[in-house]
């Protein structure tokens, strides 16, 4: 084996990204002083009309991820339980509800919303969660109901969701007392489409061997396509990020020192253990090169018509990863296994996220049957560390890697 030193230089864009996110949150937190309105919106919700109407979108789920990464999840979740919420409730919801009351968390709580936008394409939890917050803040709530497409997108679903997109616009016009500028809407739609296209391109760079970045980096860089989708900021940033990744590939810079095994991750990240997980896998020369989670923000791009944006988002927002049937989810996982050419699949059975974790056993079975690849299931929770046992995860990861090494030997 050649022993030339491997360059794993840090990704430069990290700093820029941090700055952009700081600016975004500062603007959101000072919205009141600047006569701007704030809408809280679910991560899978159609944000573009908000951007077009100059309303600042804020994502409690992104905030939840920050709480998890800052290891403040346990305290806030426990607080919500003291308030009477069940331990079984999604930890994003628990952390957010507690944070609203406590003004706690890494940034002292989110800015007060002027309205709430809830799209149930990700789960049913958000319905009750947003209803609770609508009562707490006494602000109007808009619910966009996207039926689950178990087998496909029917004309009935299309008509039903499309009609709600119009209602959504009317809702925003009523709350803001302003009319939607349709030219601006078209422009935002194009930027959103372009942002998603670029985000997919960022993710595609990890098909290269060795991978210039890992899923852990993707979890970080994801925040922009979630929070600033539809703005030039996201578009410009991802162009730079792609350029940096392409340069890394050219220079032979890899995410981990000795990439020997490539893995695919399923489900949300375990925010409070990112460093630990990344080190554990790279200790086995394994890089998590891709994941099913971050691609959710560009996975429905084929349904978007950038020249006919409002008409097409009904379909694009309804047919996202968490709102389709398990068979289709398994197909997407299989596609990713092939595209990224991985040696195994790591599934995070997430105590919080039922829609994501439900069906994992079936997907696991399909992957095994169709590819013969080893699949690992780790029980954890994205934010609440009380649902995670490090010693057990350690043994499982080590065993899984031993199996892969034995197979690939």
């Amino acid at each position: 084996m050649s022993e030339k030193p491997v360059d794993t230089t840090k990704i430069r864009s990290v700093k820029k990204m941090r700055d952009l996110m700081t600016t975004y949150y500062l603007e959101a937190l000072s919205a009141g002083q600047n006569n701007k309105q704030v809408a809280w919106i679910t991560s899978g919700g159609p944000v573009e009309p908000l951007v077009a109407m100059d309303i600042i979108p804020v994502y409690p789920e992104n905030h939840g991820a920050m709480i998890g990464s800052a290891k403040m999840g346990e305290e806030l979740c426990a607080k919500a339980e003291e308030m009477g919420y069940s331990f079984d409730l999604c930890s994003y919801a628990r952390a957010d509800i507690a944070c609203s009351v406590e003004k706690g968390g890494p940034i002292g709580g989110l800015p007060r919303p002027d309205m709430l936008i809830c799209c149930n394409n990700i789960c049913g939890t958000v319905l009750k969660w947003y209803e609770i917050q609508a009562r707490f803040y006494n602000v109007p709530l808009f619910i966009l109901d996207t039926p689950i497409c178990h087998t496909g997108y029917t004309p009935d679903i299309a008509a039903y969701v499309r009609a709600q997109v119009d209602e959504y616009i009317v809702f925003l016009e009523n709350v803001t007392q302003r009319k939607l500028d349709h030219d601006k809407m078209t422009q935002v739609g194009k930027l959103s489409f372009e942002g998603q296209r670029l985000w997919q391109k960022v993710l595609n760079t990890t098909a290269h061997k060795p991978s210039p970045m890992s899923a852990f980096d993707a979890f970080f860089f994801l925040a922009l396509i979630v929070t600033l989708r539809g703005t030039p900021i996201a578009v410009d940033f991802y162009k730079e990020l792609i350029a940096e990744m392409e340069q890394r590939i050219k220079d032979g810079i890899s995410s981990i020192p000795h990439e020997k095994y490539r893995l695919l991750w399923d489900n949300l990240p375990v925010w409070h253990r990112l460093k630990w997980l990344s080190a554990r896998f790279s200790g086995h020369n394994a890089c998590l090169v891709a994941d099913t989670y971050t691609s959710a923000w560009c996975g429905a791009i084929q349904y978007i018509d950038e020249d006919n944006f409002l008409d097409s988002i009904a379909q694009a927002y309804t047919r996202i990863y968490l709102n389709i049937g398990v068979d289709q989810m398994a197909d997407q996982v299989l596609d990713m296994i092939r595209f990224y050419d991985v040696n195994g699949l790591v599934m995070h059975s997430n105590r919080s996220c039922k829609p994501y974790s439900f069906g994992q056993m079936d997907i696991m079975k399909t992957v095994r049957e169709k590819t013969g690849l080893p699949v690992l299931m780790i029980e954890a929770d994205m934010v609440d560390p009380r649902s995670f046992s490090q010693a057990q995860a350690e043994t499982r990861i080590d065993t899984f890697m031993e199996i892969i090494k034995q197979r690939e030997a």
Partner: protein
């Protein structure tokens, strides 16, 4: 070439020596608080018993929860691969392994070379482990190693429905208060624990012949309850407790 395997479990430390296809010897001692000391003690004593010294050993693999503490081992491996390799060494026909140890239980699927195809472990919970049986034995004032025998005398096994060990213990205590027969309660406990383990086995779709390993394999009541649940006979070797250590030695021989 003589190779050694050392398995530091939560309750007992095990060591095994092999030379090619021959098992030279095994030893089991209580782990105690200090993992490294337990490793040194079990290893050195076993060497002594076989008239060997450390320099005679070509390669040492450590496994089990305390595997990382064994600083004199050449390599560490997880219990799963070791139990698989150990079971294959003891009986090459084995395709499924069910290991019930002190604080965890696992089901393993093997290929014809003894390599692990798939595995499942219990989740953050002591139900279906040796610890579960230990807690119950204490509540019932029965010696742990008597549980199997006593449970076999049941005429009408009790039904324990709680999954959680702590809740199951309160269930057992209320049964004691109702003066249910001890034999029946014990049979109920075995069945409850067996149900959890059978669940793991079902997850990986276990296939026979199946070997049961780990300390709990010595409990005949638990083994019988498990056979009933799995609808498969279980092969239990006299080395059930040392299978992991034997497998570690086998893997040591493969690497060294």
């Amino acid at each position: 070439m003589i190779c050694a395997g050392i398995d530091i479990g939560s309750i007992t430390a095990k060591a095994a020596l092999i030379n090619g296809k021959d098992l030279l010897g095994t030893l089991v001692i209580p782990t105690g608080y200090h993992h490294l000391n337990a490793g040194i003690r079990v290893f050195d004593t076993l060497l002594q018993q076989n008239g060997l010294s450390r320099t005679d050993i070509s390669f040492v693999v450590s496994t089990g929860y305390g595997r990382a503490s064994v600083d004199f081992a050449d390599k560490t491996m997880t219990e799963i691969l070791c139990h698989g390799a150990g079971a294959h060494f003891l009986n090459p026909d084995i395709r499924g392994v069910i290991d019930v140890g002190g604080q965890d239980s696992k089901a393993i699927l093997l290929d014809d070379q003894g390599r692990v195809e798939n595995f499942a472990m219990n989740d953050k919970c002591a139900a279906g482990t040796g610890r579960f049986l230990e807690v119950m034995a204490r509540a019932l004032e029965v010696a742990l190693d008597q549980m199997g025998e006593v449970g076999q005398k049941a005429d009408n096994p009790s039904k324990i429905s709680s999954i959680c060990t702590v809740f199951a213990e309160s269930e057992v205590i209320s049964m004691i208060a109702r003066q249910e027969k001890r034999e029946n309660i014990i049979a109920g406990i075995h069945d409850a624990a067996a149900a959890r383990v059978a669940n793991l086995a079902a997850k990986i779709r276990i296939r026979g012949p199946v070997m049961m390993t780990g300390g709990v394999a010595k409990n005949s009541g638990m083994a019988a309850a498990l056979e009933k649940r799995l609808k498969l006979p279980l092969i239990i070797e006299s080395f059930s407790q040392e299978t992991g250590a034997i497998g570690a030695a086998v893997l040591a021989a493969g690497t060294g």
